[in-house]
């Protein structure tokens, strides 16, 4: 991608798009990692033939800007509350596939209680964390997921522990909790990461479909706008910051304990 691309209308450029994507133009910034993540979610729903039985609950943030584009029965939940809303839905419709899609501001800041309690209850839902370490929707301020050294509009010289405290590594915490069936971390900053993300999403969905309980996939996404970086430099910056801090792959899998760590390198 060149700098001139950043001026063009953002479009999903894949040769084919999932049937459940209602429009190929989208309102997110060039270089954003959310569209490909959302595309992978739709593809997974289609491949597992979950049409006509899927309900999505969306948090507030950039991913919510895509909700008009997705052919999914859904609720735009209150900020941070998606796991609670999804719990009410799933308890009344246990035969449906129920997922949440939330950013780090939504899940780790506003909704920390909701995600932790849903996980501890072993609620049979799948939560997707699209983590770029900033409040992208409001222009790139620090979240509770911003890693040390990461730039945001409220940490222009990078987050430092003395001034801003430490980030919460949510997936690592959840991976140690009873009640959690599956946790994985991945990234969409390169082709291998996209391919791995697809496989991990499928695995997480299967946990719910088998009734195994709570599953979560954390997907690291680029936010060049919030990071004050060129769109083309987003994947590299992600690797130096959020990606540098992260372990990728399966962090917990109670169905297949040997899987944990196995997907980490490819």
């Amino acid at each position: 991608m060149t700098d001139s691309d950043t001026l063009a209308t953002a479009t999903l450029r894949a040769p084919s798009a999932p049937d459940m994507l209602l429009s190929r133009e989208h309102p997110l910034c060039p270089g954003c990692g959310h569209p490909v993540s959302i595309r992978l979610v739709l593809e997974t729903i289609e491949e597992l033939q979950l049409q006509q039985r899927t309900i999505g609950v969306f948090g507030h943030g950039c991913s919510a800007l895509m909700i008009t584009h997705l052919d999914v029965d859904m609720n735009l939940s209150l900020h941070g509350r998606a796991p609670a809303t999804a719990t009410g839905i799933k308890r009344m419709r246990p035969d449906r596939f129920v997922f949440t899609m939330q950013g780090d501001g939504d899940m780790i800041n506003e909704g920390l209680a909701e995600i932790m309690h849903a996980a501890a209850r072993g609620e049979n839902i799948t939560c997707l964390l699209l983590n770029n370490g900033v409040f992208g929707d409001t222009g790139g301020q620090m979240t509770a997921g911003t890693v040390i050294g990461q730039r945001s509009t409220s940490t222009l010289d990078g987050r430092n522990a003395e001034q801003h405290g430490y980030p919460i590594a949510l997936s690592k915490i959840l991976a140690g909790m009873d009640g959690v069936s599956f946790v994985a971390r991945t990234t969409v900053s390169d082709a291998a990461g996209v391919s791995r993300t697809k496989r991990l999403l499928k695995r997480a969905f299967e946990h719910q479909l088998a009734g195994h309980g709570f599953s979560l996939v954390e997907i690291l996404t680029m936010c060049p706008t919030g990071w004050v970086t060129a769109a083309s430099e987003g994947p590299g910056y992600l690797g130096e910051t959020l990606g540098h801090e992260s372990e990728f792959g399966v962090l917990r899998d109670t169905w297949d304990p040997a899987a944990a760590g196995a997907a980490g390198s490819e």
């Binding site: 309900i55 909700i67 029965d73 859904m74 609720n75 735009l76 209150l78 308890r91 009344m92």
Partner: protein, 364 residues
């Protein structure tokens, strides 16, 4: 609203009666967080809702409880949450959400005195929303209004609050808990059930009514104007109230909930003694029966508002009577040392003394 006495069937507390009446109305989901004096409702559902093919969750926070109930209600099943005023304070954001994306959410508020009138009738969420609020005077009426509230919140797709207090919640009464018949309601075609996913006709539930790229919604401007018009319809059609000896009354007492039961007792005694005093009782606190109060206050030379708070409903009374200068607060804050239980003002002799003082001042 009549409180026709039907053949009594079971002795239970007000809390048990409300929970069982909700189950008779078809409630299938309850999420609650313990706080006195609302805890007995949660415990009743904990024991009994699973036997009624339902789910009760003892939630980790009130905020999660109300959002779970919101999710459950979105699927078309009858759902509720509840707490005391302090807990419902935490739920305001989600109650507003229910109003703005048209989800029939029911909340049982069991207050400690009557300090939750503002919270229940105004609310603390964002946006132009309203909440139907019903305040029964006793347990049999609570049974009836619980079922009516589920009916009306479904009919209009709005949030609703049943506002009671610790006295009503703990009073043991024999009540009839059979389902009450209401007019039939249309099928819930709006229910979120996942069946639309991948069909090109998926549903979207959000306060801006944005719809989908292939099927745009009304958008916030039109949606919010429509909602405001719906709330006006409810304000016209759904006020409920009770009048006791209001015709020709020179003194009118306005009271709600349990306090009104005490006022009613005193008003009947005074009339038997030849004192021309009446009582007007709003049963729905929103919509407030303002036109009806205006008519009932026509002959009054003094209007006393007896409520167990520093003066909340009195604002609505002043807005609606012909002459607001005749309105006096005759209740007040009355609580025991625990801060949880209603204090000594809620006693027939104390209520009578307040009313007699008002009459005395009026004749001076």
């Amino acid at each position: 609203m009549s409180t026709v006495t039907k053949p009594t069937k079971s002795l239970c507390s007000g809390s048990e009666a409300i929970a069982r009446s909700a189950m008779a109305a078809g409630l299938r989901f309850y999420a609650g967080y313990p706080m006195a004096p609302s805890t007995d409702i949660l415990e009743t559902f904990t024991r009994e809702l699973a036997h009624a093919d339902g789910v009760c969750i003892n939630v980790e926070t009130e905020i999660e409880g109300v959002n779970m109930a919101l999710g459950a209600a979105m699927t078309g099943f009858r759902a509720a949450t509840g707490s005391t005023g302090q807990g419902v304070a935490l739920m305001q954001e989600a109650i507003a959400e229910a109003g703005l994306h048209e989800t029939p959410l029911v909340v049982f508020t069991v207050g400690r005195m009557q300090q939750d009138y503002f919270q229940s009738t105004r609310g603390g969420g964002w946006g132009d929303y309203r909440t139907i609020c019903m305040a029964p005077k006793d347990v049999p009426e609570a049974v009836e209004l619980t079922q009516l509230l589920f009916h009306l919140t479904d009919k209009y797709r709005v949030p609703g609050i049943l506002l009671t207090d610790g006295i009503l919640a703990r009073t043991q009464v024999s009540v009839d808990l059979s389902p009450i018949e209401f007019e039939p309601l249309p099928e819930k075609t709006w229910a979120l059930d996942g069946a639309g996913t991948g069909t090109g006709h998926s549903k979207s539930y959000w306060t801006f009514a944005g719809g989908k790229a292939n099927n745009p919604g009304l958008g916030p401007q039109t949606h919010w104007v429509n909602l405001a018009e719906k709330f006006e319809v409810i304000a016209r059609n759904e006020p409920r109230w009770e009048e006791v000896h209001t015709e020709g009354a020179e003194t009118l007492i306005v009271a709600f909930g349990t306090a009104a039961a005490f006022v009613e007792h005193v008003v009947r005694d005074l009339n038997a003694e030849g004192v021309r005093v009446g009582m007007f009782r709003p049963i729905t606190l929103w919509p407030f029966p303002g036109d009806q109060l205006e008519a009932a206050a026509e002959s009054a030379k003094a209007i006393g508002v007896f409520e167990l708070n520093a003066g909340q409903m009195i604002d609505d009374v002043k807005l609606n009577v012909p002459n607001r200068k005749l309105v006096r607060p005759i209740g007040g804050i009355s609580v025991d040392d625990s801060g949880i239980n209603i204090g000594e003002l809620l006693d027939a002799p104390a209520v009578r003394a307040r009313i007699e003082l008002l009459i005395e001042e009026m004749t001076q």
